[in-house]
Symmetry: D2
Subunit: 149 residues, 4 copies
């Protein structure tokens, strides 16, 4: 973290600015009382937490597949914005997810890592795990198209 | 449709029973006032409609990526249940989606087709289009694991 | 087919020019005595045939997975070149394939269809089947990056 | 490595037995004078090296996409056999690969890691890199179906 700016080493946006941007862009997902929160942003990485509310749950308290897909997508997006700045037009072009285990009840953490950051395309993978465990519950690879700047 | 049973040719469940099952299993998604509805179920196919509510929309009225992913997933599930019956334990193991165009405002239709129906695994693809257009807005391939019966 | 040019309706390259290009670019794959041949090229579609030689076979005469992946990739490439012309720098960025059934012995046909043709990206799907059957043996979705022109 | 058996800790097959099995099953790929060789097998991991011969190269000495797909597939297979033993009927059901950078000339290393090893399905990811560099040239996720034992 560079003193005075709040921008973590290797990133171009402070976590605060990123969070404020997400609250504006995804008001149902981020913000006070909302289920998603940014845990950390680093050099080509990000971790986002999902405290699932009723709408994300299946019977038994398990987080649903679509909620895991959305969490993976948004975590990749956070890792990308940490590198390229607040570019609202970056769009997901492909997302592939493997569901590995039924998640135990409770919050989910998603750890994203960019494996390519090109001029036009960014690719990353995301591991999703329960806060209460180490095994991955899902694993995702996604591609983003980056607009000309 | 076989007279008297409501079960379409080549399927094992009537659309009514399927809808009732979905309302029980996904109460946030299906049922009166809910955004998803089964349009049709046929031999290895299904069509589901999404009338997106506020929570599925991005600024500009465009349906969000996660909402499209969920629609694709649920449509494949409907096509599968039409073949194997109401097996609640069939689970998505892999889902890969390409986002092709920004959807125009309005309802989205998803057309799923099973391309393999094995004892353990089913694979299908899903084309997603706006009711107001012909071009695909997204295309998805998904795999389901079928429990031993 | 426009009389005199050999260019099929809705494409910009004649099948002859395309084949000649492929022989130059993939000399191990196309050309006299080589296993791949272009069957047809149409508007956003192409069909390529693989007469597998020893190197593509597994014990029992079954075409190997990597040979099917290569066939899918090259068929998409042919469909794309039929639309954008002989652009050797178009590159595959993502390829996802599901292996559905063990192929019976004999030649394999791949039918590709572009589902998006943008300025920067093209996406298509490919169904692979034995000449002796109708069931798909594999199904593939691939994305190509198109260089600035 | 357990003294006397040659079986690495956390695996059930010695590298020698695994190599001998691969030479039998993929005679074009493994063995003296063949391009693929097992570098290491560990707990849920494997590394395989490709010294590309003429048939794997594109103009400029770059390893072709299909050669990278095959390398990724076989490396996952090696990691899996290290865990479940020499089960020739394990088959790839899905393979998704992102091509990230043009590989520099020279050998390619593939590092596979199983992220799920279930009774019926195994899932893993594979990073492919040039021996001369650190950046990934491709990244792959694959699923194998494991026969009943």
């Amino acid at each position: 973290m560079d003193a005075g700016t709040g921008v973590a080493r290797g990133t171009v946006v402070s976590a605060e600015d990123l969070e404020a941007f997400l609250v504006r862009e995804f008001p149902q997902a981020f913000g006070p009382g909302r289920p998603h929160s940014v845990v950390s942003v680093g050099y080509r990485t990000a971790t986002v937490r999902l405290d699932a509310s009723e709408e994300h749950l299946r019977p038994g308290g398990t987080v649903s597949g679509p909620a895991l897909m959305m969490l993976a997508d948004v975590t990749m997006y956070v890792a990308l914005l940490g590198q390229i700045g607040l570019v609202p037009l970056a769009v997901t072009t492909n997302l592939s997810i493997n569901f590995l285990r039924k998640p135990p009840p409770g919050a989910i953490l998603a750890d994203a890592r960019l494996i390519k950051l090109g001029k036009r395309l960014a690719v990353g993978d995301v591991g999703l795990r329960a806060v209460s465990g180490e095994d991955l519950v899902a694993h995702c690879v996604a591609t983003y198209s980056i607009p000309d700047r």
